[in-house]
Symmetry: C2
């Protein structure tokens, strides 16, 4: 860790967020309740206002491309794949209103990418509360804006992303070669937390994304859509400890054995995960469990709760040059459909 090996600038970060510098007023009267707006905060910061309250106070790194690139240089990243702050996904808004908002956000994201000199790539937002609108915007962000794919929530209004009603979306993503990044959002288990509001992000987010990844396995999504490239935030959340128990349940209970094929552990090794666990033993455990070809850098930059040393952490955790190269960049290239010989 003492040698600043990260100066190589070799990393690809697939979990980083953007927020537009400002939001237009909605064209609807009255404005939809959760339509966002910005309000001045301390220097270089803005409050993201949602439903009349401060949702989060964020730094100008969320929209300022030169400052972001300066951070990336510090962190040893050559490319960041940026997606909207998840709360902006707006699944709880009327679909046509959400579609207006998400098209604006996607266009703003495309602007940032255009001004990044090749240092940023994009994951768009789509209104999954309406599958047809969602697929139309998926096509636009992939084909017109040139994004790598889309970010989706771990659940859409309480339904986990593996639920069968989302299959037409996954069919379209597979056909288009669009990468799908599943991010924790409005999690279950909120009534199980005792403490400050940050526990939502800290504890309930990984729990929800773990159950979301499990829902993808229990419904055999990757078997039905074998060319789909799908990744889960926060190292797959709690999936890493759910999976051994799911594997044993699969051996013991006939209904699970009959409905989940092939076995859960095998399916899990065909999904992608980011490295965002802030911990060397946990990262090593996940690489052993999911495979060295399935984990990619993720940072949550530029939010407060982001991994400031993603490249150094990989270098400190793994001596093997091949594993390092997989985690730092090669797996991300495959996930994004940019690897040599990739079909997408």
């Amino acid at each position: 860790m003492t040698v600043m090996q990260h100066r190589c600038g070799c990393g690809i970060d697939i979990h980083a967020h953007v927020i537009p510098a400002s939001f237009p007023r909605s064209m609807k009267t009255p404005e939809p309740e959760s339509w966002p707006s910005m309000q001045s905060a301390q220097p270089c910061h803005q409050h993201v206002m949602i439903a009349g309250k401060i949702y989060r106070t964020v730094s100008d790194r969320c929209w300022d491309v030169p400052k972001r690139i300066s951070d990336m240089d510090e962190m040893g990243l050559r490319l960041q794949v940026v997606s909207p702050m998840p709360e902006l996904l707006s699944y709880w808004m009327k679909a046509s209103d959400a579609d207006d908002l998400l098209r604006y956000i996607n266009d703003q994201t495309a602007e940032m990418i255009a001004h990044s000199g090749g240092r940023l790539a994009g994951l768009g937002a789509i209104p999954l509360q309406d599958i047809d609108l969602a697929i139309a915007e998926l096509r636009r962000v992939k084909l017109d804006l040139g994004f790598a794919g889309v970010e989706v929530g771990s659940n859409i209004n309480g339904r986990p992303i593996g639920a069968p009603e989302f299959d037409p979306f996954f069919a379209a993503a597979e056909e288009l070669g669009a990468a799908v990044f599943v991010h924790a959002l409005r999690p279950s288990g909120m009534d199980r937390l005792i403490g400050p509001p940050q526990l939502q992000q800290v504890l309930a987010y990984p729990s929800d994304v773990g159950l979301a990844a499990a829902s993808v396995i229990t419904t055999n999504l990757i078997v039905r859509r074998p060319k789909l490239r799908i990744a889960f935030s926060h190292g797959g959340g709690t999936l890493g400890l759910l999976l051994p128990r799911l594997a044993e349940g699969h051996r013991v209970f006939a209904p699970l054995r009959e409905s989940i094929k092939p076995a859960p552990a095998e399916q899990a090794r065909q999904l992608f995960y980011d490295s965002l666990v802030y911990d060397e033993p946990a990262l090593r455990y996940l690489v052993d469990l999911f495979g060295e070809t399935q984990i990619m850098l993720g940072t949550d930059h530029p939010f407060n709760f982001h991994d400031r040393t993603p490249v150094d952490r990989v270098l400190a955790t793994f001596d093997d040059q091949r594993i390092r190269q997989h985690l730092l960049a090669d797996n991300a290239m495959r996930f994004l459909g940019l690897a040599k010989g990739a079909s997408a």
Copy 2:
């Protein structure tokens, strides 16, 4: 694994369940809705009926002590600490009715222990929906029935076990030297599961007990009650992957840093966990994380979904004789208050 080292019969299993052979009718008219009863099933099995439906079909090992001891011999166990099937905890029943039921179950458990020739010890059930009744029954099972302590749910009607309203119970448990075993129950996240009903046990149980253990840490229970001996089922569920993220959140967010003292990882290493993860890498990860002094055998015997080779798994996972001895028996002795020099 080829040498049958488990024939040593050295293991202490702190996670095993009992069900009385039959239930009396309730003294109330009409009978409380979830008052249990037994119905004949296949040979050597009974259906546990709750609210007019088969809750679970169970083998006579649940109440037949000689058969249980025969299983224990096969599994290499010298002692099982038995607790009621968690659904019987009946927190959702009127407290006085639950108290009637749980006193009956505790007395039946005491009978089984009395006929076990020292091979069984007990964890009682208490009606935690009423703290005063719960403490009274805690005192009875510890002082009159001679149990090691009690089993409690990961949540009581949706409130996690770390919630402040349960502190008087923990104060009494600490004072009495009663061990507390926290078992997953009626979990959160049920709406995130897509698949057969067994996914409740397989996926939602570990998620709920993980959040329950986190609630104990975020409220500093073990700091407030330093002599309390408290253990979590299923290896602490998902806690092992929540903890690194909680540790980082604690470093980043002032409200967490100010409210959780000492740091989460340090508190986690003062709690106990069972070994019930069915997986060598997961067990190794948890021992590294929580400490070799904090993990004890747990099997979920005699339910279908139980670990049939708990001792062999420890022997296969760890070469170090001291770690083996800790996990197989010594940690359980400390948890149960039976270790030499223990204060309780």
